[in-house]
């Protein structure tokens, strides 16, 4: 069994699963907003991944087709192999899926109520702050490389100013990096 868990034991797997279970319910605005906490847990607290491995895991998932939620599976895989991917994916999906089904069935009629509107309006600035923090942490490994820092800035400008598809930006980043510019 150990070959499927990259040398981790079931205690690690259970802890991994439990952590993503909690993150699932905090992922208002998408799983990507919880990356700072994933980085704190996986890189800073447990040293299961290096900062470079963490950012690379997310870059791989961004470049591949499908929902970018899949970076969660890549992180799990890089920590603890196939079993790790299974633990993080089921952890991140079960609570939000159950809640989401329950809330839709509970009825859409309440979405105009003061309570729901206050919740959306109040949480929106926090979501923006979280996204910016995510960008900051992902850009961490670029610190010191002028080329990489320019690449971050150029991506921001191009994405805000134009309607270019993100996949082209990722491809351009890959080419620039392959030729030693990042």
């Amino acid at each position: 069994m150990n070959a499927w868990m990259a040398g981790h034991d079931w205690v690690d797997i259970a802890s991994l699963f439990g952590h993503f279970l909690v993150l699932s319910l905090l992922a208002v605005g998408g799983a990507i907003t919880t990356t700072p906490d994933m980085s704190r847990y996986l890189v800073h607290d447990h040293h299961w991944l290096s900062p470079e491995e963490f950012t690379a895991s997310i870059a791989i998932a961004q470049a591949a087709p499908g929902p970018n939620l899949l970076f969660v599976a890549v992180l799990g895989w890089n920590v603890a192999g196939p079993i790790g991917a299974l633990a993080t994916m089921t952890g991140i999906l079960i609570p939000s899926t159950a809640l989401s089904l329950w809330v839709t069935r509970w009825g859409q009629s309440r979405k105009e109520t003061r309570g729901v509107r206050s919740f959306t309006a109040g949480m929106a600035p926090l979501t923006i702050g979280l996204l910016l923090a995510t960008g900051w942490i992902l850009a961490g490994p670029t610190g010191g490389h002028i080329g990489a820092m320019l690449l971050v800035a150029a991506t921001v400008v191009v994405m805000v100013k134009t309607k270019l598809s993100p996949i082209w930006a990722v491809a351009a980043g890959a080419v620039a990096g392959a030729f030693g510019l990042a």
């Binding site: 992922a27 700072p36 961004q62 989401s100 979405k111 949480m123 980043g173 890959a174 510019l181």
Partner: protein, 159 residues
């Protein structure tokens, strides 16, 4: 991703109207969990019940999951090549830029929100400092700042 879902579900299959798509999307944005995943669950559930919901979820995830894990496994083989690790570094820098750009685009909608610009800026900045610089756990930051922000919004939204 969302643009593709909209085109397929509304324009080609005509399972739901533009109006319904927009409503479902706004609900799925408030809920925790990935938007696209929540959206596919809701549409599957509405049209085909619980089985539909899980089929939609599986369809959304299965094939991309296999691709992404295959790429990950390949990457592990070739990570030592300087060109491969360089490409990954470049893609990582772009990924950081993409997230920041999304934040900036979404931030423009705060102008019309109930919180107003100054309060939004304060809460956004506090969240950023707590998470990015102090590295506090997300749970405590959201549970600490969230209720305050929601309470302020509650007072500003007239019943």
């Amino acid at each position: 991703m969302l643009a593709v879902a909209q085109r397929e579900l509304v324009e080609r299959k005509q399972w739901i109207s533009h109006q319904q798509f927009l409503e479902l999307l706004s609900v799925s944005q408030v809920l925790p969990g990935p938007n696209v995943v929540n959206l596919s669950l809701m549409i599957g559930d509405r049209h085909f019940g619980l089985r539909g919901a899980f089929v939609a979820l599986g369809g959304m995830l299965a094939i991309p999951l296999v691709i992404v894990l295959a790429v990950t496994a390949l990457y592990a083989q070739y990570a030592s090549l300087p060109m491969v690790s360089g490409a990954l570094r470049g893609m990582g820098a772009v990924a950081a830029g993409l997230v920041i750009a999304t934040a900036l685009k979404l931030a423009t909608t705060l102008r019309s929100g109930a919180m107003g610009v100054p309060l939004s800026a304060i809460f956004g900045l506090l969240t950023f400092i707590a998470i990015a610089l102090l590295r506090w756990p997300l749970v405590w930051v959201l549970l600490g700042l969230g209720p305050v922000a929601v309470a302020i919004a509650w007072r500003r939204i007239k019943p």
